[in-house]
C-alpha cells in the first residue's frame, strides 16, 4: 500500500535532519518537552491583564508558571537565543517580546549579534 511513498523516517533521522540546518533550532519534540511551561506562560500574554501582571512582578509570574532556573535567567537577560535554548517557541516568545516593544528586527539583530541597522540593511540586500 505504501510502496510508492517515501520511506518512513525514524525519530532519530528526523532529528538529525533538523540538527543539520545551520543556525536553526527546530521546535520538535525535544523543545516541546523542555519548553512547555515557558511557552504556556508566553501564550498567556495574549491577554493585556496578564502582560501587565508580568510587568508588575516578573518573578511572581514566573513562579506561578513554575519556570525553571534556565528559563528565568534567559527571561531576565531578555535574550532570545537563550530562551530558544530553554525550549521557547518563537511564536509565543514574540508575545513576550511585545511586552517590551521589541520588534522582530531587534530580535533578529540580537540573535545575529549585529546592530539593528546592520540587520535591516541585510534584509534590504536580500532583495538584490
Amino acid at each position: 500500500m505504501a510502496t510508492s511513498a517515501a520511506p518512513v523516517e525514524t525519530r532519530e533521522s528526523l532529528q538529525d535532519a533538523y540538527d543539520r540546518i545551520p543556525g536553526t533550532i527546530v521546535f520538535d519534540s525535544r523543545a516541546a518537552m523542555k519548553g512547555y511551561a515557558l511557552n504556556k506562560m508566553c501564550y498567556s500574554f495574549n491577554s493585556r491583564e496578564n502582560r501587565e501582571a508580568y510587568r508588575r512582578n516578573e518573578d511572581a509570574y514566573c513562579e506561578a508558571y513554575q519556570l525553571n532556573a534556565q528559563q528565568r535567567l534567559a527571561l531576565k537577560h531578555r535574550n532570545v537565543a537563550e530562551l530558544l535554548e530553554a525550549g521557547g517557541n518563537m511564536y509565543y516568545l514574540a508575545k513576550w517580546a511585545g511586552i517590551f516593544g521589541m520588534t522582530v528586527q531587534q530580535l533578529g539583530a540580537q540573535q545575529r549579534g549585529i546592530t539593528e541597522d546592520a540587520f535591516k540593511e541585510m534584509l534590504l540586500r536580500a532583495g538584490d
Binding site: 535532519a17 543539520r20 527546530v26 521546535f27 532570545v80 549579534g113
Partner: protein, 288 residues
C-alpha cells in the same frame, strides 16, 4: 454546484496589518508591496466570489501546545479576531458558513483526512491580513478557515498538504449550492525569525517556488519538511498553506498575476493569482 474560480497566495506579515491601520500604504517602503494588490482587486471585482476558504496557520491565538491539531476546519457562524499580544489592532469578526463547512468536513473525513472540527475559532493575523489585503472595503463574503499546524514539529509533509488540497477541491465542487469560491493560501515566502539564521531570505528558492506552484507541484510536494526549513527558513514552511490551496485547483491552472517584493519586515513577500480553468471540472462530477 459550487465552483472554484481560483486561488490567491499572499503573505500575511503582521507589519502589513499595522501599515493598513496607520494608512502608510503609499509610503516608499510599502508602495511596491501594496501596488501588487491592485490587479488582485480588479480580478476579484470581475470574478465576484461569494465564498472564501482560507488556508492559514495559527500563531498561538486559537491553538496552544496543549492541543495542537495538524488540520483544523472552522464550522462557526462567525470568526472573531483577538489581541495577539504585540499591538496589532483587533479586526471586526468575519461571517462563517457552517453548512458548507460541515459538507467539507464530512467529505474530507470520508477521504480519510481525520481533522479537528471547530465550532468556535479565533482567527489570527494569518487569516485577517489576507482578508484585509484582498477586500480592503470589507465586502461581506462567507468564510471557511482551515488551519494547518506550522508550530509544533512534526508538521504535515508537503505531499500530505497537497493531497489535502485535492480533497478540499473535490469537497467544494460537490457542494450542492451555486457558489463562486476562491481559496487563499496564506503566508510566505522565505523568512526566519529565530536562531543565528534569523533574517534568512532565499530569493532564488522563492522565485523557483512561484514557478513550481503553477507548473511543477510534484517538485514541491516531494520535499521533506526539513528541506523546506533549510530552503525557506523556519517560518517559510507556510508554503504548506500554498500547497493546500494549489491542490484544491481542480482544473487547468493559469497564472494571472504575481508580485514578489523583498523585504517586508523580516520576510520575502509575495502575492499571486491562480485561475482555475474549467477544462477538467466541466463534467460537474467529483473526480475521486
Amino acid at each position: 454546484m459550487a465552483r472554484i474560480i481560483g486561488g490567491i497566495a499572499t503573505s500575511h506579515i503582521p507589519a502589513i496589518g499595522k501599515a493598513i491601520a496607520q494608512g502608510t500604504q503609499q509610503q516608499p517602503y510599502w508602495k511596491p508591496f501594496f501596488d501588487g494588490y491592485n490587479p488582485v482587486h480588479s480580478w476579484l471585482e470581475k470574478e465576484q466570489p461569494d465564498v472564501v476558504v482560507v488556508i492559514y496557520n495559527d500563531h498561538g491565538l486559537n491553538f496552544f501546545l496543549d492541543k495542537m491539531p495538524t488540520f483544523a476546519v472552522g464550522a462557526a457562524t462567525e470568526y472573531s479576531n483577538a489581541d495577539e499580544g504585540w499591538g496589532l489592532p483587533v479586526s471586526l469578526p468575519f461571517t462563517g458558513y457552517p453548512e458548507m463547512s460541515w459538507h467539507l468536513i464530512e467529505s474530507l473525513i470520508q477521504e480519510e483526512f481525520d481533522l479537528t472540527t471547530c465550532q468556535e475559532m479565533l482567527v489570527d493575523h494569518a487569516f485577517v491580513v489576507p482578508m484585509t489585503l484582498l477586500w480592503p472595503d470589507r465586502r461581506p463574503i462567507r468564510t471557511i478557515p482551515i488551519a494547518i499546524n506550522t508550530v509544533q514539529f512534526p508538521l504535515p509533509t508537503p505531499a500530505r498538504c497537497f493531497k489535502l488540497g485535492k480533497a478540499i477541491g473535490r469537497a467544494i465542487e460537490s457542494f450542492g449550492k451555486e457558489h463562486r469560491v476562491v481559496i487563499i493560501g496564506s503566508g510566505g515566502m522565505s523568512h526566519q525569525l529565530d536562531g543565528e539564521r534569523a533574517g534568512f531570505i532565499n530569493k532564488t528558492f522563492d522565485i523557483t517556488c512561484l514557478d513550481q506552484i503553477i507548473n511543477d507541484t510534484a517538485a514541491l510536494s516531494q520535499m521533506s519538511v526539513a528541506e523546506l526549513v533549510l530552503l525557506a527558513g523556519v517560518q517559510g514552511v507556510e508554503l504548506l498553506n500554498w500547497l493546500v490551496m494549489r491542490g484544491a485547483m481542480t482544473g487547468s491552472v493559469s497564472e494571472k498575476h504575481r508580485n514578489y517584493h523583498v523585504p517586508i519586515s523580516n520576510t520575502a513577500a509575495a502575492v499571486m493569482i491562480l485561475e482555475n480553468g474549467t477544462a477538467l471540472a466541466s463534467s460537474g462530477k467529483s473526480r475521486v
